[in-house]
């Protein structure tokens, strides 16, 4: 009984926390606009007249993108630090951090998204092969 009462109180706290959080969402405007989120939610078939839920989804997406970008940034900085060990000049030149497909694919792999790109594009099947093995 006591345990139940405690759990009930806990639930009430959680409920209030959730409702407070949803209320606070109306103050915080996420970077991802509401119209975009509404469009894609409508496309998926999710119907909801409540604006707070749309804000919740927007904030969740923003969190996801921020995490992925952060991981990519870490990869980029790590690569630059590795290069700096060899040449100190590059530290001055490559101060700019640029989001590349390489870093992005590494960070996305942890989230279960496989983004792979071609290493290079060849114009014929025998490109890059030894001249002896080519049938010409």
């Amino acid at each position: 009984m006591n345990h139940n009462r405690q759990s009930n109180d806990g639930k009430h706290d959680d409920d209030s926390a959730l409702s407070d959080f949803l209320a606070s969402l109306m103050d915080y405007t996420p970077t991802i606009p509401d119209e975009l989120v509404e469009h894609y939610l409508a496309k998926s078939g999710f119907q909801c007249p409540d604006v707070r839920l749309i804000r919740l989804v927007a904030v969740a997406t923003q969190k996801f993108v921020a995490e992925v970008a952060n991981d990519a940034l870490q990869h980029c900085k790590a690569r630059q630090a590795a290069v700096v060990k060899d040449k100190r000049e590059k530290q001055q030149k490559d101060k700019r951090l640029i989001l590349t497909m390489d870093d992005l694919s590494k960070s996305l792999r942890e989230y279960g998204v496989n983004v792979k790109q071609q290493e290079y594009f060849a114009d014929s099947p025998s490109t890059g092969m030894d001249p002896a093995t080519r049938d010409e």
Binding site: T29, L36, L41, F46, Q47, D50, T61, A66, N70, T100
Partner: protein, 377 residues
């Protein structure tokens, strides 16, 4: 990209613009939403610390974020439908978030009796909101996609009419007005005596008559405008109302037209056919200019073959067939058309090919000699 603060850099292998992705995110109708997503993602990356992007990387990340939203919606809708609801609520969304975050994990994921309300996902998001900066979206967006206003079907209910008969529901389109298909009793019964069976034709005829009337009014209006334009020519330029193509045709002599220069042969025939042609000024001037030539022609004509030529002119003035006696006719051509001394080369050119010049020359010379001899005779 679109923001002034973000910069783009060209890369070694640029992905083609055509997206080989699933149709729902790669179609042309989604371009607007994807562009907005790119801007938003770019802003987020900038806030994280990036100073530039590769375009392909930005496109990939924005596409993935859009799919994230889509999958949240799909999972939330699925859980709402499973619970027997059409509209989703917050618990459905939290379920969706948990599903997506399950591979990375969130606090409390392994609890058996966990409540959705106290989910670790929500706590993470709450923490994130508290930590992150407030970055508003760069542009003001209208609600999209824009919903087209549906045209009224014109149902009975909309028109406020009672459907004739109880078997017809009120949401069906209303019947057309009886005026469109019934004969008018006032005028048409007089004109069409026995036409009770031609109800449909009367409607057609009425429509045609209306069309004719409107066309007539239009023409009258243009004529009226034209008259207006002529009278008030000094006041203003009546360009919009007076259409030159619909104006009344001009009478002969109303407008000064540049004279037509007829070719010499035709003009001579005209002169011979109509020696006194005064009322049209153009022909007179042509006559005057070509008078000496005509006189020369006449003199040339009268000498050798008088009767034949006159016959020809009486019958077919436009086409001149020189039906002479072989060599004589050729001689007359040469006499008529080259008033100066004959150039054998010029005459040779009438006979065609330059390849056989020598043979032709000889032949021509022979003919000329013979014709000269005959004329002398």
């Amino acid at each position: 990209m679109n923001n002034g603060c973000l910069e783009n850099r060209k890369k070694e292998h640029d992905n083609s613009r055509k997206r080989p992705k699933s149709y729902k995110f790669g179609s042309k109708s989604d371009d607007f939403a994807l562009a907005i997503a790119k801007v938003a993602v770019g802003q987020l990356c900038e806030s994280v610390g990036f100073q530039g992007f590769h375009l392909s990387a930005l496109e990939t990340l924005s596409d993935i974020s859009v799919r994230y939203i889509y999958s949240i919606g799909k999972t939330a809708n699925l859980s709402a439908n499973l619970a027997g609801r059409v509209e989703g609520n917050v618990f459905d969304i939290i379920h969706g978030l948990e599903d997506l975050g399950s591979n990375l994990g969130f606090s409390g994921a392994s609890d058996v009796d966990r409540c959705v309300v106290s989910s670790g996902v929500v706590k993470d998001i709450t923490h994130f909101v508290g930590v992150s900066d407030f970055i508003p979206f760069a542009y003001d967006l209208p609600g999209f996609p824009v919903v087209k206003e549906s045209t009224k079907t014109g149902s009975f209910w909309e028109k406020g009419e009672d459907p004739p008969g109880e078997h017809i529901p009120s949401w069906l389109p209303a019947f057309p007005d009886p005026e469109t298909y019934e004969t008018r009793l006032s005028v048409e019964n007089e004109t069409m005596g026995v036409s009770n069976g031609k109800k449909s034709e009367s409607e057609l005829e009425r429509v045609e008559r209306n069309m004719d009337r409107s066309l007539l009014n239009l023409q009258l209006r243009f004529a009226h405008n034209e008259n207006k334009g002529r009278s008030s020519h000094g006041s203003g330029y009546v360009a919009t109302e007076s259409n030159p193509y619909l104006a009344a045709p001009l009478h002969v002599g109303e407008k000064q037209v540049s004279p037509v220069v007829l070719p010499t042969k035709l003009s001579n025939e005209v002169a011979l056919r109509n020696p006194v042609h005064v009322d049209v000024g153009n022909h007179v001037s042509v006559l005057e200019t070509f008078a000496p030539a005509i006189e020369a022609m006449k003199s040339g004509l009268c000498d050798p073959d008088n009767g034949k030529k006159k016959l020809l002119y009486d019958q077919r003035p436009t086409v001149r067939f020189k039906i002479g006696i072989g060599k004589k006719s050729l001689g007359t051509i040469s006499d008529l058309n080259s008033q100066n001394e004959e150039d054998p080369l010029k005459i040779a050119s009438w006979f065609g090919n330059d390849n056989e010049k020598d043979d032709k020359k000889r032949r021509v010379e022979k003919i000329l000699k013979e014709s000269v001899e005959s004329s002398k005779e």
